[in-house]
Amino acid sequence: MAVHGSVTVVSALRSRYEQRTERVTRLRQVQSELVSLAGLIGRPVLDQSGGRLGRVVDVVVRWDDDRSYPPVTGVVVRVGRRRAWLPIEAVDEFRRDLIRLHTARVDLREFSQRHGEAELAREVVDHQLVDIDGARVVRASDLYLARLAGLVQLVGVDVGFGSILRRLGPARFRTRPTPEKVVDWASIASFGSQHRPGGTLQASATGLQRLRPGELADLLEDLGRTERRELLAALPPERAADALEEMQHEELVRLLREFQTADAARLLGRMEPDEAADGLRELGTDERATLMAAMPTAARERVATLLGYGGRTAGGVMTTLLMVAVPTETVARVRERLREHREHDEDLAGVVVVDDEGRLVDDLTMTELFLADPQTTVDELIGPPWPVTVTPDARPEQIGRRLVESRHWSVVVVDDEQRPVGRILPDDVLDVLLPDHARFHFPRRLR
């Protein structure tokens, strides 16, 4: 099993890597034709006969969901005191050090931004972007443009320190690209600008799909506030909730505070109750009450139960999502119900069997259910190994020890009457036991 697993991982990584190497910025002929945006800014715009018209202020691209590389739609040119608009159709030569036009005569209109377009120098360079393949937040030090299939397109983003130094240096060295750390634009998600409210995240939906919840959580922690909102808004709600579950508690609290109460409550409602409770526990009493009042009733009740326990006890770390079966049910029926709860599969390590009084009889593992004949009834499966249980006030160290001793995948939390109230998975225990020296956020250091 283990061998198979690692082989799959390796081949997945390899295909991801190969995908990257085929990307356009790796192509040799494209590299030789890369135009550095930072180098182009301030360069002359010449008419057909070589007469100087003005200088480049910015390059405008159109965000296009169907394309990996946004096409350039025009150039903003400073002519005298005006910011004039020059459509790309009028451009003959798009070089590193100058732009030459087809004609001697151009109709120069005042520049005004259109919907779905972005000014690269003002809105994208020096701003945050998400490198989806690398699952990290980057800041663009430079952008590279290239002519592909007759169109000038935005093909890559430079995230290297070398390009920052190049931009600091004298103007004549600035035009030469220094592509030592370039990310292909096809794997980049970029954000709408603050100047255009409602500007949306520019990323292929499939790209975002590739990210694991943990990676998304890291990205959310690194992004600025507006960018974070956009990324969350672009995710399907259940993926957003998954990502939130993976976040550091302090980060989750910050995020909940930033959101409108209704949005925050909706996200909380979709999260696993134990993770939602962890986040809520860090909030002030008033804030917590407001948020909980706005949550869906069922989710609120589950979370409220958990909040009743201390944060570092079994009750505080357990999940209340339990799949309960009675001895008379058939295995087929139980499996069917499991299928209905697919979205919680990470939290369902087993199915608890209870008697008429609601007391715990056994804890069936997924393997037991998988191997059993569908027509057998649950009571035939009851038997050793008997479930490992703890009480809600058990300390994480105790739970960890129980898990290790019994070699079980999970422990069931039962109340004084032996009724199951929740389940604890190894990650819940590890979460509390591992020292969290995660990212450094210096403002938090003094708390």
């Binding site: 320190f161 100047h195 600025g224 910050r254 201390g310 006030d393 109340d415 020292p435 995660a438 403002p443």
Partner: protein
């Protein structure tokens, strides 16, 4: 267990350990208070004590003006953090050209390296009071702090340092017990008073440098953004920031008063032992030890925080990985900057000389650089494109501009005097 409880899940009473309550208490203090209190570090104590020793109550009026400027500046930084949700490093990178950004970040690095030097000088001064040579204490402290941060066990040391530094809250009590000349102190507080000597101006610049530290501006913006404080919560945060700034300068003023009352001969401070006399009314013959403990805590705390915050701001602006849990290969810029500052700072602090003078000089350096970064803050807070309706209004803009200009003018005069001094003029 009673019958009533039988059907309810057992809910254990929520226990709160002393440690937890302590953390809660500190958390209750908002970023504004914490940031402003960071001003009362080694350099701050040395500068305020020097002011008290050398000029008695005469710097108090200057402190009032500094307080006004501090309130204005901290409020702008907190507002930038709340409305944009970003730290100053990122804001400057996004809002200014790359060269202008580089100037700001370079200024921050220089100012903060100065601060790191003063923190290590503070550690050395504190341990010299406890009879440990600085040639031993500084290298050991530098390696210890570096290792604590890089290997991720700093959190616990930090709490200890923070608690140690609370010693300085003894100053107001000490000031009250030392029977200061209240009439004179009160008069100097209200009555506009400036001495136009070079030394006095230098000290005022040091007071500005240690109170309106560039480091604190970056801190408060980042702290506000980091807590998820948004426009809706801002009025409360504003109150916290303003109150925090005033509160901390009141403490500073008490340090000046306590020292002025304890030291009768108006001369520059010779040693930390002299400065420690100001705590005699509270601690009697243990004043030196008490002072040493407080100074050690405050210095050690800031000796890690200041280089970390510089590395954080620069990495934030550069868009590089910023995390202490990453390896050098993963976060070369962040960890490189941190390491460089700690060891360069410690090396400079090792240069033989008077530690108190070194401490005050580092604050002068900060005071000279402060107006540069204040200009950035002012420009950002004026920008309607960035803050919308929360941008500085007219009256505020005038007040803020006057504050920044005054600080800048003072720095320019001191700098001019210094340059002229090199050429033997003035």
């Amino acid at each position: 267990m009673t019958d009533l409880d039988e059907h309810a899940p057992a809910v254990p009473p929520r226990r709160r350990s002393l440690r937890r309550r302590m953390v809660l208490l500190l958390a209750f203090m908002g970023p504004g208070i914490i940031a402003a209190n960071a001003g009362n570090d080694a350099g701050g104590i040395a500068t305020y004590a020097s002011a008290g020793a050398l000029y008695g109550y005469r710097t108090l009026f200057a402190m009032v003006l500094v307080t006004v400027a501090l309130v204005v500046v901290q409020e702008m930084c907190a507002r930038l953090g709340a409305y944009t949700g970003q730290g100053l490093g990122a804001l400057i990178r996004e809002q200014f050209s790359i060269r202008v950004t580089a100037v700001a970040l370079l200024a921050l690095v220089v100012a903060n390296v100065g601060l790191v030097v003063s923190e290590f000088a503070g550690i050395a001064a504190a341990l010299e009071l406890l009879h440990v040579s600085r040639y031993l204490s500084i290298p050991v402290a530098a390696i210890a702090i570096w290792a604590l941060v890089v290997f991720g066990t700093y959190k616990y040391a930090e709490r200890l340092f923070l608690i140690l530094s609370l010693v300085f809250f003894a100053y107001p009590i000490s000031a009250a017990l030392s029977h200061p000349d209240l009439a004179q102190a009160g008069a100097q507080l209200i009555y506009p008073h400036f001495l136009l000597t070079q030394d006095f101006l230098l000290l005022v610049v040091a007071l500005i440098g240690t109170t309106i530290t560039p480091y604190m501006q970056f801190y408060v913006a980042a702290a506000v953004a980091d807590r998820g404080i948004g426009p809706a919560d801002y009025p409360k945060e504003k109150l916290d920031t303003v109150a925090g700034s005033i509160f901390c300068n009141v403490i500073s003023i008490f340090i000046i008063i306590a020292t002025a009352a304890a030291i009768k001969i108006r001369a520059p401070l010779e040693s930390a032992k002299q400065a420690a006399q100001a705590l005699t009314p509270v601690a009697g013959r243990f004043a030196t030890q008490l002072f040493a403990i407080g100074l050690l805590g405050a210095s050690a705390l800031a000796a890690a925080i200041v280089p970390l915050s510089t590395a954080y701001a620069i990495s934030e602006a550069a868009g590089a990985e910023r995390s202490v849990s990453k390896s050098f290969r993963q976060a070369p810029l962040f960890l490189g900057l941190f390491t460089g500052q700690v060891f360069v700072g410690a090396a400079i602090a090792l240069i033989p000389g008077n530690l108190i003078t070194l401490l005050v000089r580092a604050q002068v350096l900060n005071g000279l650089i402060t107006p540069i970064l204040l200009t950035y803050v002012l420009v950002l807070a004026n920008r309607r494109g960035l803050l919308g309706s929360a941008a500085n209004g007219r009256a505020f803009r005038i007040t803020a501009t006057i504050s920044v200009t005054a600080v800048g003018l003072l720095s320019a005069i001191v700098l001019a005097q210094f340059v002229l001094g090199i050429f033997g003029i003035g």
